[in-house]
């Protein structure tokens, strides 16, 4: 190793460590604060971990009815995911296996939908949800979430289904299984990797969505976590450790997923964007 290479390596390492501090430290700060009592928050040194772990913030946040927001977020995310996966799979299968005028035109429509930003449709969406009598229901968040998730999900699934060899279908057709049977018994089970990616990607999007609950609900009991966090901050402006605990709790599913399946979570998050 020559001196110039040594120097390069040194610079790269310094930059890498510097970036690690930038990326990681705010998250550490979040954890430090969430385990501090309010007195030590105001008197202690904020950049160091607390001397004693204090779990009171988590207790008080959970006793503030955070459970219900968790439940709302979970229902919205899971119901949306089931709909996205079933309807998305049906549509993608039709696009790949039942080629023709109908399926190709519909596919083009979904591709065009990739370019629609949620923000651009939120005003008519609000009026529509209101007209349909869905305002202040969990469906107000579920149905638009599904609609906006479908284009990219279908694109991912279509790309995956295209690669399933025709011979597999033909072999099953010999056994007298019809078109629909092939969808449930062959396409679905084989698409597990693509469905996992679609599931992860959309779970993260829906779990973190703020605009839908903000615009389409009003009832505090129907809040999902992001909106609940914002309200929580309004109420507890001065109790920073409690807010930090709430913020940490709101990310629990992703934190757990990160600990146990980091590779899959990260691959799912970029599904459809990296080839």
């Amino acid at each position: 190793m020559g001196p110039s290479q040594m120097l390069r390596k040194f610079i790269v390492t310094v930059l890498a460590v510097f970036w690690l501090i930038v990326a990681l430290y705010p998250i550490l700060y979040l954890l430090f604060e969430s385990f501090r009592s309010q007195e030590t928050y105001l008197t202690g040194l904020p950049w160091l971990p607390p001397k004693h772990l204090y779990f009171g913030n988590y207790q008080s946040v959970l006793s503030q009815g955070f459970g219900i927001y968790f439940l709302n977020s979970t229902i919205v995310a899971l119901v949306s995911l089931v709909m996205i996966i079933i309807f998305g799979m049906m549509a993608s299968y039709a696009i790949v296996r039942l080629k023709g005028w109908v399926s190709s035109k519909v596919f083009m429509l979904f591709l065009a939908g990739l370019a629609i930003p949620i923000q651009a449709a939120i005003i008519p969406l609000y009026l529509l949800i209101f007209r349909l009598g869905l305002y202040d229901t969990l469906w107000a968040m579920i149905l638009p979430s599904v609609a906006f998730a479908l284009p990219l999900s279908i694109l991912i699934l279509v790309n995956f289904l295209r690669d399933i060899p025709k011979e597999l279908y033909e072999a099953m057709m010999m056994e007298g299984i019809g078109t629909l049977g092939l969808l449930w018994r062959l396409a679905f089970p084989l698409s597990k990797p693509a469905l996992t990616a679609v599931g992860i990607f959309n779970f993260v999007q829906i779990w973190n969505n703020f605009l839908f609950p903000l615009v389409l609900t009003n009832n505090p009991n129907l809040q999902t976590l992001p909106l609940a966090l914002q309200h929580f901050q309004g109420q507890y402006t001065m109790n920073v450790p409690a807010i930090m605990a709430a913020v940490t709790l709101s990310a629990i599913p992703l934190i757990i997923a990160y600990i146990f399946g980091r590779r899959q979570l990260l691959a799912g998050m970029t599904a459809g964007f990296s080839k």
Binding site: L15, L24, L98, S104, Q119, F210, V247
Partner: protein
């Protein structure tokens, strides 16, 4: 006899072909019906809650309506008002600023981080674990976290800088009109760099190693390798990442809503925020819809221009495969 036979011989294939065609036309029709049945749940939801509202925004933009009473048709007057509205135009300009600067900050850093993580250094995997942590938090969570980090009275930055005797860095980062936009661009970059690093890491891993081996034999140095191999090979990734960054910054809402709510004054009042304010706080559904359409058109134009400029044929090939 012989003649008859020929006739029969001629007739049968023709008849058979007719029979075959009508059977295949029928099965083709049946297939399309089945396709429609399978497509309909996704299609109905998408038209009703996706494409429908998008077109609805264009329709609303020619109305004057508070969302409750009866709407009044006002033609293009909302549009004319918009292009004479200095506040709205400032918000458009702010959005473009955020777009440009967040791209300028995010792209080089994401590329460096991605290439670093795709390389062969030791400790890469645990360093990567730290790099991707911001991906776990929602925009709202990130907004709240940074509002306390940057709080001018008891926030992390303020206390730290005061203690380090760097008083000039203990500023009101979000509360002063001059700094707020820069702070936001920095926080947005902090939030999204991990995602784009992932894209670049994946992109770099797709590049065939034989290219680098060949370059090595030709005696290329690190810079030349990057310039003549890595960068051209990453073209697809750069385009994807850029389109996502630009359309993303066009629609930033959550984070800015939480951190500054467009303030101080209107220093960070970007398009999406301005639209939300106009439609839902001032109850001007029609005028807000003008802004919504501007967002949509801007976004679509950006994607199309980027894709055309780079001769990137992904969309066409997607469609051809059908």
């Amino acid at each position: 006899m012989q003649k008859q036979q020929t006739n029969q011989e001629l007739a049968t294939p023709v008849a058979a072909r007719y029979a075959r065609t009508s059977a295949s036309v029928q099965s083709q029709r049946r297939n399309q019906w089945l396709a429609l049945m399978l497509l309909s749940p996704a299609l109905i939801l998408f038209i009703m809650f996706g494409i429908g509202p998008m077109l609805g925004a264009a329709y609303l933009s020619v109305l004057k309506w508070n969302g409750l009473g009866s709407p009044v048709f006002v033609g293009l007057s909302n549009w004319i008002a918009y292009f004479h509205d200095t506040e709205a135009l400032k918000s458009l300009w702010l959005t473009i600023e955020v777009m440009i600067f967040s791209w300028l900050i995010q792209t080089p850093i994401s590329m460096m981080v991605g290439l670093y993580l795709a390389g062969r250094q030791r400790h890469r995997s645990w360093i990567g674990t730290g790099y991707f942590l911001p991906l776990l938090l929602s925009s709202v969570a990130i907004g709240l976290l940074w509002s306390y980090i940057l709080n001018p009275n008891f926030g992390l930055v303020d206390t730290l800088m005061t203690n380090l005797h760097l008083k000039f860095l203990a500023l009101d980062w979000l509360g002063s009109p001059r700094l707020a936009l820069w702070s936001l661009v920095a926080i947005v970059s902090w939030q999204y760099i991990p995602f784009h690093s992932l894209l670049y890491q994946a992109g770099r891993r797709q590049v065939s190693e034989s290219l680098y081996e060949a370059a090595c034999l030709d005696g290329a140095n690190g810079w030349q390798e990057f310039w003549f191999i890595t960068l051209p090979q990453l073209k697809y990734t750069v385009v994807t990442s850029t389109v996502l960054m630009l359309t993303g910054s066009l629609t930033y809402f959550d984070l800015i809503y939480i951190l500054t709510n467009g303030g101080p004054g209107d220093a960070t009042n970007v398009l999406a925020l301005n639209m939300y304010e106009t439609a839902f706080n001032k109850q001007l559904m029609g005028y807000g819809s003008v802004m919504a359409v501007v967002i949509a058109v801007f976004g679509i134009l950006l994607s199309v221009v980027m894709i055309r400029l780079t001769g990137f044929k992904n969309m066409e090939s997607q469609a051809e495969g059908v």
